[in-house]
């Protein structure tokens, strides 16, 4: 019996003038466009340098900032007012104020009337985008420290005995060049599976309700579980196709292959698709119009995506949000995907989130079968 129902679902999907296109176009967009755009690396920060010192060292400092790929020297205002104005007009994100006597303070001996051996610069950042401001400040700190040690090496400034210095040598494992794209690609795949395999089932049952065709099925002896399964299986297959398309594109465009086992990746994804499609079905069962189903699903998917660690780490969320994240199936699947994709984790490392996903799958799909009413 289910064979006929699945056959019907596929015919309907392929005959829809819109669905097949979106099923192909969305993952392509996600893989080809979003990794470049949805990028949290901060580059090209515009800097205005207010140089009141006009010394060799202040000029070298300015050049060094300009040479960094993170900064663009956008203005050299003469006064504080001009500098502030450049921030207001958007010509600068950050102002570096190098005070008068910067060089003198830096190179004069410690006992002199000047401060001696140390000098201040002031950094004012436009913190409307707090992430940008924070990162810019820390990058500039790094540049200043670098410049300092350069100066010291050059002329052994002031220092009779070298200060103890801790050099931090960092190594970035699993994503050696801290390429944000590599971090985002598995997450984008998850997003595609969530959106397509979540939305389509949510709209499916309710559109049968709107068209009245569900009545003809409700009056037939078709079992509730058969009906739900016949709705799920097509999205399983579509989900696997989407995943394949995403993996192929990731490999072709970014030379990014999952570090872990690919069959395992598919297996775990299939479990996840079951979970999101189940959510879609439940919403579809409780909705009476397409609009209602659409907005409800949108609401849940938005929450799921934002509280999942997709964009922001779960551990830095407030505790209540961490609880929400723990109740969110997406959290577990993102974890699985990133571990499998970037770290190459095997099943031995992934069984815990896997079991949680299985639990969600059973829960949501039983609920979907239960909430499907053949009679009112």
């Amino acid at each position: 019996m289910i064979k006929y129902l699945i056959e019907k679902e596929f015919k309907q999907i392929f005959r829809n003038p819109f669905l097949p296109k979106i099923i192909i176009a969305l993952p392509m967009m996600a893989m080809l466009v979003f990794p470049w755009a949805a990028n949290q690396e901060i580059r090209n920060i515009k800097v205005a340098v207010l140089d009141r010192d006009h010394s060799t060292i202040s000029r070298r400092m300015t050049d060094k900032i300009d040479a960094s790929t993170y900064f663009i020297l956008s203005a050299l205002p003469a006064t504080n007012e001009a500098a502030l104005r450049s921030v207001e007009t958007g010509d600068a994100d950050i102002i570096i104020d190098i005070p008068q006597d910067f060089e003198k303070n830096l190179i004069s001996p410690p006992q002199s009337p000047h401060k001696g051996g140390s000098a201040d610069i002031m950094l004012s950042a436009n913190a409307v985008n707090s992430m940008k401001a924070g990162l810019a400040s820390s990058y500039l700190g790094g540049i200043a420290a670098d410049f300092m040690s350069e100066l010291r090496n050059e002329n052994g400034l002031v220092i009779s005995q070298p200060l103890p210095v801790i050099n931090v040598v960092s190594q970035n494992r699993f994503n050696v060049f801290l390429d944000y794209k590599i971090f985002m690609i598995p997450a984008l795949m998850v997003m595609m599976l969530t959106i397509i395999c979540g939305f389509l089932p949510a709209l499916n049952i309710v559109s049968e309700k709107e068209l009245g065709t569900i009545e003809q099925l409700n009056v037939s002896p078709v079992r509730k579980s058969t009906f739900i399964l016949s709705k799920l299986i097509p999205y399983w297959i579509i989900g696997v196709c989407i995943l394949t398309l995403c993996l192929t594109l990731a490999c072709a465009v970014y030379q990014l292959l999952p570090a872990g086992n690919i069959p395992l990746l598919y297996f775990l994804s299939i479990v996840y698709i079951l979970v999101v499609s189940g959510i879609g079905m439940i919403i579809s069962n409780y909705s009476s119009t397409l609009q209602q189903a659409m907005f409800t699903m949108f609401f849940f998917i938005l929450i799921m995506i934002l509280i999942s660690g997709l964009f922001t780490p779960v551990r830095s969320m407030p505790e209540w949000a961490q609880w929400l994240a723990a109740a969110n199936p997406l959290t577990y699947f993102i974890k699985i995907m990133r571990m499998l994709f970037l770290k190459g984790s095997g099943f031995a490392d992934l069984w815990q989130p896997f079991l949680v996903l299985c639990g969600f799958g059973v829960l949501f799909n039983s609920w979907a079968v239960w909430s499907y009413r053949k009679s009112g």
């Binding site: 019907k8 065709t213 009545e215 003809q216 009056v219 009112g376």
Partner: protein, 245 residues
């Protein structure tokens, strides 16, 4: 043998009693006309008998099964054609037949020959590959009826099957109904075309959720001293107080 039995069947939606304690019996092979004005409760009563809606009170048996507790068994023994056309418009004619044949468990090797036979009977062989949304309403109704009876159910429920089609198509549609009844199928049909009532073995007339009259068309005409069913219906329906929504 009784194929349909209703005992004080009642359906309430909140304060509104859509079907008010109706009782009747339908014999096997009978064409039972279920008449009433719009909003009289015909569709609600029929949906209860088909297991699509649970009765608030009373009980009913269809094909020997309780409509409340054995609804799924009832469904396996009936065919249903709803008032609103509810086949898949984005499937072809033969695909709709195949789908419902499959759902009702018609044997795989029988589906194909029987589909051809059925389409030939309703003159739709040439349209077998046409999407259902592209065929005219009269043809859709014929197709719906053929699909509702494809699996040879004991009983077929037809909810205003001839709504909106021309008199000639209606006439032919009733030939199909009569043929099915001669083959031993019980037909339970709602309509508000009074000329069609004459084709029924027995008719019941519902007013405001209650059955006000139930007999053969001939006896009803006699009882109400009317020359046709239309006049009978007018006499009864005038009593209705329910406002049509």
């Amino acid at each position: 043998m009784k194929d349909i039995t209703a005992k004080n069947l009642t359906k309430r939606f909140g304060d509104f009693t859509a079907v008010d304690s109706i009782s009747f019996e339908v014999e096997r092979g009978e064409i039972f006309g279920f008449l009433g004005a719009n909003g009289a409760g015909k569709t609600t009563a029929m949906r209860m008998l088909c297991g699509l809606s649970q009765p608030t009170a009373g009980e009913g048996y269809v094909a020997g099964f309780n409509i409340d507790t054995e609804a799924e068994k009832v469904k396996a023994h009936i065919g249903y054609m709803s008032q609103k056309f509810s086949l898949y418009e984005d499937l072809r004619v033969w695909e709709n037949v195949r789908l419902f044949a499959g759902i009702y468990g018609v044997r795989k090797d029988l589906i194909k020959p029987k589909t051809e036979e059925t389409l030939a009977k309703i003159d739709l062989t040439a349209e077998r590959n046409t999407l259902v949304k592209e065929i005219p309403l009269g043809w859709k109704q014929k197709l719906s009826f053929s699909i509702a009876t494809f699996h040879n159910p004991n009983i077929v429920f037809l909810d205003e099957p001839t709504g909106g089609v021309d008199p000639l198509t209606r006439r032919r549609f009733w030939d199909m109904i009569q043929e099915a009844a001669e083959g031993g199928m019980t037909v339970f049909v709602t309509t508000h075309y009074m000329d069609e009532a004459e084709y029924c073995n027995r008719v019941s007339i519902m007013v405001d959720g209650k059955i006000e009259a139930l007999d053969t068309p001939r006896n009803l005409r006699k009882q109400f001293a009317a020359e046709n069913m239309d006049a009978v219906f007018h006499q009864l329906a005038r009593k209705a107080t329910r406002i049509e929504n």
